[in-house]
């Protein structure tokens, strides 16, 4: 009887601790899941350049947001560009630090429609790194990308002729004062 109780106890405790461990792993797993599947419009990092260009023309629109605690002005330099699937496109954003102190920002990103995330490849992007702007400094942020030519073979992407690429800059430093 006591033996049985002890083994039940051990099984149940390991179940509980297993769930706890999974929870802590979830942060990494969630990111991995989004990167692998393009879930939520997560874009891909290009490992190699595309080898073919399809005739399919897609309009890429650009959106920029800044979290209110980051004293930057951040906007795209072009509203939209058109690229063929497989063709490498280059776009610029423009950032100005309007405060008197140097600040560091980091951009989050995704595309809509979300299902296009898996086909949207970035070759080079300012969003891969932290961005440092001195007081009053202005700079251009480049993003180089292409749309995977495999998009033409996916029937669920047939109606997609516009993809919106969106960035939101957040301040990296903690302890910004929020009033509530």
């Amino acid at each position: 009887m006591k033996e049985k109780r002890r083994s039940t106890l051990i099984i149940l405790l390991s179940l509980a601790f297993g769930m706890l461990a999974l929870t802590f792993a979830s942060s990494a797993l969630f990111r991995l899941f989004c990167e692998k599947t393009g879930h939520g419009g997560t874009t891909q990092v290009a490992r190699k350049m595309p080898t073919r260009v399809e005739d399919r023309v897609i309009t890429v629109r650009f959106n920029a947001d800044t979290q209110r605690n980051l004293p930057w002005e951040f906007k795209p330099l072009q509203k939209q560009i058109t690229v063929k699937a497989g063709e490498v496109g280059l776009a610029y954003y423009h950032g100005i630090n309007k405060s008197q102190t140097p600040t560091v920002g980091m951009a989050t990103y995704n595309v809509t429609p979300h299902k296009a995330g898996i086909y949207f490849n970035k070759v080079e992007c300012f969003c891969f790194l932290e961005q440092h702007l001195e007081a009053g400094q202005e700079t251009d942020f480049p993003v180089q990308f292409f749309i995977d030519p495999a998009i033409v073979e996916d029937p669920t992407m047939d109606e997609v002729d516009t993809i919106t690429l969106s960035y939101t800059f957040f301040p990296l430093a903690k302890g910004t004062n929020l009033k509530w």
């Binding site: 009887m1 006591k2 049985k4 109780r5 039940t8 106890l9 149940l12 405790l13 179940l15 509980a16 601790f17 769930m19 706890l20 999974l22 929870t23 802590f24 979830s26 942060s27 969630f30 990111r31 879930h39 939520g40 979290q67 980091m106 989050t108 429609p113 979300h114 299902k115 939101t168 957040f170 301040p171 990296l172 903690k174 910004t176 929020l178 509530w180």
Partner: protein
């Protein structure tokens, strides 16, 4: 005394008295009693807060909870939710009735780990103290019971939110330990001959609940820990600036939160099965179907969490999956409802107070279930999300489902626990006050929600004032019913007639009714043989 729990073979006739009996208790009945008293306190606390909410909302432009730009209102709704869930429904249904009747119903002498049981209970006291601190410290924790970041991470600095989170940590630890205890007891300590397919449905309800607790609460504990380190130690689990994702918190929270709602209702399902069978004087219709319906509700309950997040921007296929999975839960739930009705059908029915509450439960739970099926549709939910329609829905299944289950169980087992009878007519009056009261509060909220009144907002336009006023009258009525209930309990203790071993007649067939009322301190030291 400390050895009593481990030395199975030692027969002990006497037991500690005075404060030691309670503080050092390892007796499942005493611990159950403490849980019920604790839950009663939590209920009173939570009800007073809900009354404050209804008074604030009785008229447009209310100023009762206007302090700190309505932060006080936020604090009150947050504490109301947490108190009702963690300090009323769970302690009474699981800790109270579970501790009292699971060992009795399976013919076990006590719980498997009696001292662990003691810890489970006493962890709740510091937990409640911390929650109380979270109300009064600074400007209070006004995050809502779901405490989503960024509101709960960077939006509300100050110690109050930390107190709330640590409070939930302790309550969670208590629940996990309790769950381990219940599962071990039910699996290993049943009387000879009592197979799993013979244990009463209340025990099945507690068993499934315990598994849900065991698998869901650690996820809450993990999410809370990450939130605490985000708040205090500069980690960025839920902070986009550092590569985290606030949506991850919602996924984790609801992975816990959805099973949590079944944690609150499954023990009530069990109570209702016992009560309906007793007062229909028939065995429960489709016993195995009833047991496995609860198991499947528990299993499916783990894969539907994102139906709380239809409005966060999940893509349409994900929403479609969560809609379909959620609708499937209506099947086992429907099995339960129809089986209760089939149990009553052709039975020799009498309507003592517990039975009135059980029938009331079935009616109200069906209403809450229907609005649940409505809300389960991702497309519909986009427009109803965070409106009073949702508030109406979950109060129909919880405030009326779990609460009516608690009252049914309380009136059913009060004679067994105390050895005193509560006069039937007194309980029946209480039932009708409560039944009418809660419907007057919550039914109008459907109209308010469909008309677009958002939840968690302390004020509203003139157009919503009519139904809000009526809901507030219902709240006063229900509160009056609660005061009357306190009087009934007092009356039962003071003047109640002595209860026989089985006051409910031949329908009450479970093992607890073979014992005297109240049962002796130690029971089933020799386990009964079940044919």
């Amino acid at each position: 005394m400390a050895y009593a729990a481990t030395a199975d073979h030692v027969h002990i006739d006497d037991h500690p008295s005075g404060w030691r009996r309670w503080v050092l208790s390892t007796n499942h009945k005493d611990i159950g009693t403490m849980y019920i008293l604790f839950g009663a306190f939590g209920a009173l606390f939570g009800s007073v807060l809900s009354l404050l909410i209804r008074l604030q909302l009785a008229h447009p432009g209310g100023t009762l909870l206007a302090g700190g730009e309505f932060q006080i209102y936020n604090v009150v709704i947050t504490a109301h939710g947490l108190l009702m869930i963690f300090f009323f429904v769970m302690p009474v249904l699981i800790g109270g009735f579970g501790n009292w009747f699971v060992p009795l119903m399976i013919g076990a002498p006590d719980m498997a780990f009696p001292r662990l049981n003691n810890i489970s209970f006493w962890l709740l006291i510091p937990s409640l103290i911390l929650l109380t601190l979270s109300i009064v410290v600074g400007s209070g924790a006004g995050t809502g019971w779901t405490f989503y970041p960024p509101l709960s991470s960077v939006g509300q600095p100050g110690a109050a939110v930390d107190f709330m989170l640590v409070s939930l940590h302790l309550a969670g630890a208590s629940s996990i330990l309790g769950a381990i205890n219940f599962i071990t007891t039910i699996f290993n300590m049943r009387a000879p001959g009592m197979t799993m397919h013979k244990v009463p449905l209340f025990v099945w309800g507690i068993l499934v609940t315990a598994f849900l607790l065991l698998l869901a609460v650690p996820v809450l504990a993990g999410a809370i820990t990450m939130l605490l380190t985000d708040r205090g130690f500069g980690t960025t689990f839920f902070e986009p600036a550092g590569g985290g994702d606030p949506l991850l918190f919602q996924h984790l929270f609801w992975f816990f939160g959805h099973p949590e709602v079944y944690i609150m209702i499954l023990p009530a399902f069990g109570v209702i099965s016992q009560v309906v069978s007793t007062f229909a004087r028939k065995p429960v219709f489709g016993y195995l179907g009833m047991a496995y319906a609860m198991v499947s509700i528990g299993v499916i309950g783990f894969v539907v969490w994102a139906h709380h997040m239809f409005a966060v921007g999940l893509d349409v296929n994900v929403n479609a999956y969560f809609t379909a999975a959620t609708l499937i839960i209506a099947v086992p739930t429907g099995i339960k409802i129809f089986s209760w009705i089939a149990t009553m059908w052709g039975g020799s029915l009498t309507f003592e107070t517990p039975m009135l509450y059980a029938v009331g439960f079935i009616i109200l739970f069906v209403i809450g279930g229907v609005t649940g099926v409505t809300l389960a549709n991702g497309g519909v939910d986009i427009s109803l999300h965070d409106t009073y329609f949702v508030v109406a829905h979950f109060h129909y299944v919880l405030s009326m489902g779990a609460l009516f289950g608690i009252f049914a169980g309380f009136y059913y087992w009060f004679p067994k626990m105390t050895g005193k009878m509560i006069p039937n007519w007194m309980g029946n009056i209480h039932f009708w006050i409560t039944f009418i009261g809660v419907n007057v509060i919550f039914f109008p909220m459907h109209f308010l929600g469909l008309a677009g009144m958002p939840r968690r907002i302390p004020d509203y336009p003139e157009a919503f004032s009519g139904w809000n006023y009526i809901a507030s009258i219902g709240a006063l009525m229900t509160f009056a019913g609660a005061i009357y209930f306190a009087f009934i309990v007092f009356y039962g203790f003071k003047w109640g007639k002595k209860a026989p071993a089985n006051p409910w007649g031949e329908g009450a067939t479970t093992l607890e009714w073979t014992l005297s009322s109240p049962p002796p301190f130690h029971t089933f030291e020799t386990q009964p043989h079940i044919p």
